[in-house]
């Protein structure tokens, strides 16, 4: 059996301080991974830094938001025939050393989408602030009910996908605050979704895209998106492997 071609999809917006390390860590972990950084029209030199560290860089001509940026990566993966993809954030909060954990179920053919969750194991290290914990728990419960399968962390951007998952998200991926809705879309499309416990680090530079003021918009938008997504019909996909 030949090794599956693997791509790491890394969206980045003004992450010149962290992106070099992120790319290095992935390559150090496994030099066979092709690293694709999607530069969402940064005003700093994120693209140049990523390129000088050996990543393939996709430069968006204007800022399209995290979802649109990530989707560019999935489209790249489809065009270039990758069988497996992992998605990590460009700020360094997803440790490359955790990649094998989320990759394992995809490699074994047991899942089409693996979510690196911070909350599978109640003893996990990550303790978000109260308000955020409530929000994450609420979305997780909603997606579990609407999607018909228990998930614990729908806001995680640390995921692994097989070809079926890549193709689904290349065609259909929400554009802002995408993770929660994407999880539901995957479930309703019939992808086999698994979650594994991962630890995430505090971000080293930059700031989270979710500021306090935007939180309300975030919650309302995601709720509406979930409602609409559960009313929509999605073509049932068959898992990549039976």
């Amino acid at each position: 059996m030949t090794a599956q071609r693997l791509v790491a999809i890394v969206p980045a917006w003004n992450e010149s301080g962290a992106i070099g390390t992120v790319v290095d860590e992935i390559k150090e972990f496994d030099s066979a991974i092709d690293v694709v950084v999607i530069d969402d029209c940064s005003s700093d030199d994120t693209a140049e830094v990523a390129e000088s560290h050996g990543a393939t860089v996709l430069r968006l001509p204007f800022n399209v938001g995290i979802g649109g940026a990530v989707q560019t990566g999935f489209r790249y993966a489809v065009e270039h025939g990758y069988e497996v993809a992992v998605r990590l954030d460009g700020d360094g909060q997803h440790a490359a050393s955790e990649i094998p954990k989320i990759l394992e179920p995809v490699r074994a053919g047991a899942a089409d989408l693996v979510i690196g969750s911070r909350f599978v194991d109640p003893g996990g290290v990550y303790r978000p602030p109260f308000a955020r914990r409530v929000g994450i728990g609420l979305f997780a419960r909603l997606v579990s009910i609407l999607g018909g399968q228990r998930v614990t962390d729908t806001t995680s951007g640390f995921i692994a996908l097989d070809r079926a998952g890549i193709e689904l998200f290349a065609a259909e991926f929400p554009h802002d605050y995408p993770e929660v809705e994407a999880t539901l879309v995957a479930l309703r499309s019939g992808l086999r979704v698994t979650q594994v416990q991962v630890d995430m680090r505090e971000r080293t530079t930059g700031s989270s895209s979710i500021t306090f003021i935007r939180s309300l918009y975030y919650i309302v938008k995601v709720m509406l998106a979930l409602l609409v997504a559960s009313l929509r019909r999605y073509p049932r996909l068959e898992g990549a492997r039976q």
Partner: protein, 120 residues
Amino acid sequence: MTPVRVSIVGAIASILLILVVLELVRGRRLKERYALLWLATGVVLLVLSVWREGLNTIAGWVGVTSYPPAVLFAVATLFILLVLLHYSTVISKLTDENVDLAQRIALLEERVSRLAPPVD
């Protein structure tokens, strides 16, 4: 009964709207497909302004007894809401198309830069 002055002002305003929209289309500053709803608005308001008994009858149907021209305002408001809603769908479609184009450009640029690296 609707005051005659209201009917006259309503008719003039409607005709002005129709003329402005037609002129914008003629000057290619407004596409026909986006002019249609505006023209419909103008025509409906013109008809309701000129056809005074009609306005009275409709006012009776919807329970407006004291001041029939209120129906004129209500219809105008309804049409403006329709136009705005229509534009919201247009903007949404444009946004999606824009993102799609941006993504394609990013993918194509990466390909081109490998085939023909920029000359410094």
